[in-house]
């Protein structure tokens, strides 16, 4: 078992929380793990990424080599495209559909969508709407984790254990809310994939 995942977003959007959830899920399973993060200057609203590698064998590099990522999981559509050189030919690109516009030359959303649709295996998820529907607007990053979780190859219960460990300090209600967000993301994608098994290119959301 070996999964190389690029997590992408804008500083402050919570990709490190996603990374930590996957990391703790992998530890529950006694897998090897390396996770490189960006700290410091770029965290101030800049493009940020995290390289997350899990495997049942030892992992050498902290960085994923170009062309080797099994999954690009992005919480922002423009950012999902920034790491395409890392994605392997049959890898998945899973992204939130809500743009984070903090630059003057942000491209047209339709153009971004068109570029994403050129990737063979892609999913565009309206995680903001889903998190709103379940009454937790701040959990869209965990919805995205749920949406991408079926491509990671770990049991749902392991992710839930990871989420529990991360949010435990904030109280039972916060844990429950985030587990619900995770499930909502996962269910959405499972429905999407089973319903349209041959047309992944139809963007969801």
């Amino acid at each position: 078992m070996k999964k190389d995942i690029i997590l992408a977003g804008v500083g402050g959007q919570g990709i490190l929380t996603i990374a930590a959830s996957i990391g703790l899920a992998a530890l529950e399973e006694n897998l090897e793990l390396k996770q490189a993060e960006v700290h410091g200057m770029s965290q101030r609203g800049g493009a940020v990424q995290s390289h997350l590698r899990i495997s049942d064998k030892d992992i050498a590099s902290d960085l994923i080599p170009l062309g080797k990522a099994d999954l690009v999981l992005s919480v922002e559509p423009l950012e999902s495209l920034r790491y395409l050189p890392y994605l392997c030919p049959d890898g998945w690109l899973v992204t939130n559909s809500t743009p984070f516009v903090n630059i003057p030359d942000y491209p047209e959303m339709e153009d971004i969508r068109r570029e994403i649709q050129k990737i063979q295996h892609h999913l565009i998820v309206d995680a903001d709407r889903i998190s709103k529907d379940i009454g937790s607007t701040r959990s869209s990053n965990i919805v995205m984790l749920g949406a991408a979780s079926s491509f990671i190859g770990l049991e749902t219960s392991l992710f839930e254990a990871g989420i529990d460990r991360i949010f435990r300090g904030k109280g039972e209600a916060v844990v429950r809310m985030n587990i619900r967000a995770f499930q909502a993301g996962r269910e959405y994608v499972e429905m999407k994939l089973s319903g349209k098994s041959k047309s992944y290119n139809n963007s969801a959301g």
């Binding site: 530890l27 390396k34 101030r44 395409l84 050189p85 491209p107």
Partner: protein, 533 residues
Amino acid sequence: MKKLLLLGDEAIAQGGLDAGISGIYAYPGTPSTEIMEYVQGSSEAAERNIQREWSANEKTALEASLGLAYTGKRAMVCMKHVGLNVAADPFMNSALTGVNGGLVIVVADDPSMHSSQNEQDSRYYGKFALIPVLEPSNQQEAYDMTYAGFDLSEKYKIPVMLRITTRLSHSRAGIKTKEKKREKKLVLPEDPGQFILLPTFARIRYKGLLALQPNLRKEAEESPFNVYFDGKDRSFGIIACGIAYNYVMENYPDRIIPYPLLKISQYPFPVEMIRKITETCTAVLVLEDGYPFLEEMLIGLQKKGIPVKGRLDGTIPRDGELNPNIVSDALGIGYEKGKPVPGLVTNRPPALCKGCSHADLFTALNETLRKYKPGRVFSDIGCYTLGALPPFNSINTCVDMGASVTMAIGAADAGLIPSIAVIGDSTFTHSGMTGLLDAVNKNSPVTIIISDNSTTGMTGGQKSSATGRLESICTGIGVNPAHVRVLNPLRKEHETNVAIIKEEIEYRGVSVVIAQRECIQTAARRKRKAKQK
């Protein structure tokens, strides 16, 4: 035992705690900040009540750690690479005084300048000071080397440097910990002259340090962290320093490497091991994250040895951090990229947060300076350095901690009046106060704006040394109290703020404008915490 999931920085901190440190000293600086933060968050450190307060700067931190090690106890000090420039004086001299208790000096380099002004390689400092340097290749080694570094330091009674780079500082992995050691007892040095670097004593100490060198080299030759792996194909040998070793391994998924490979993680250079690989192979590739430190020495000025590939012959880019792909190319393996980045993907540079006090200050400053030609705002290191970028374009320099104040003085000396400095509160207390004293002593016509958000913002909101005391510090240094002005950088105060800055810029003497409003991030965090209680 279950593994701990730790950043490289955190592994170092845990290694120090388990090795029985009695104190850790640091000034925040990416990528080293998380070492101290981990200790500050550790319940064990709280129970043992080990010293874990931030220092005013890296020099005070290193001196305090040396003082702690003077007493026979174990001390750790942490900084980013450019922080070692600030601490270079005590650093160099600590090699001569030596230590009594173990002292590990952690220096985190930032190749590729992810969050820094340069990418200097601290291994040169280690060689310069003639002390051992440990350079872990992964998180487990970061832990193990910190733990072992204290023993090495005490064995030879000298400080030991632990050098890491950003990638390892900020990457997580599972760590196996070792047995916890007790803290050492307070025992003063046997030799009362050891720490007195008067020339007569210093000459003796220096001879002693030189005499140690063969032993330190022998330690490196025998170190478990330096390993020679033989290989069948001797047309080529690989020397990989620190984290570069991982990138070599990444390129051989079955971990079988056809060439002889020397992994170097402890310095001074294990000369015999290096000779073995250069005598065995007909060419050698040197992989180092940072400068071509070993590579240059290996080639030498006479260029008589075997061909050396690396950063100097263009096999590897001369600048920037290594990665598995660069190493793949250097090994002649190659790789296949994914799809290219679409042309519409624009850069998203870091920016000041929404509601940031620096932003409102820059808006006011820009308006005040509209009647002047640009080029007279000297600035410094911090979040406010982003004021150099659009939409503000407010500042004209960023060189090193504190340089805003002193460069403004020099420019004013040359006749650039008004001459303005913009510096943060933490940077001011780090290295700006002495510059202000220079300004006061010659009544330099400069306006020093302290953009006081009451935190060390860029590194994530650590305590700032003199929160609430900046006015008294400035008047204490000798600034006329009538020209120490405080303003509140808020949009609704814009007109007032422009008027205050204008008055002080027109004043032909030293003036300080303190633009005081709490960092939006720390304020939000404080409110969230209060709500939880």
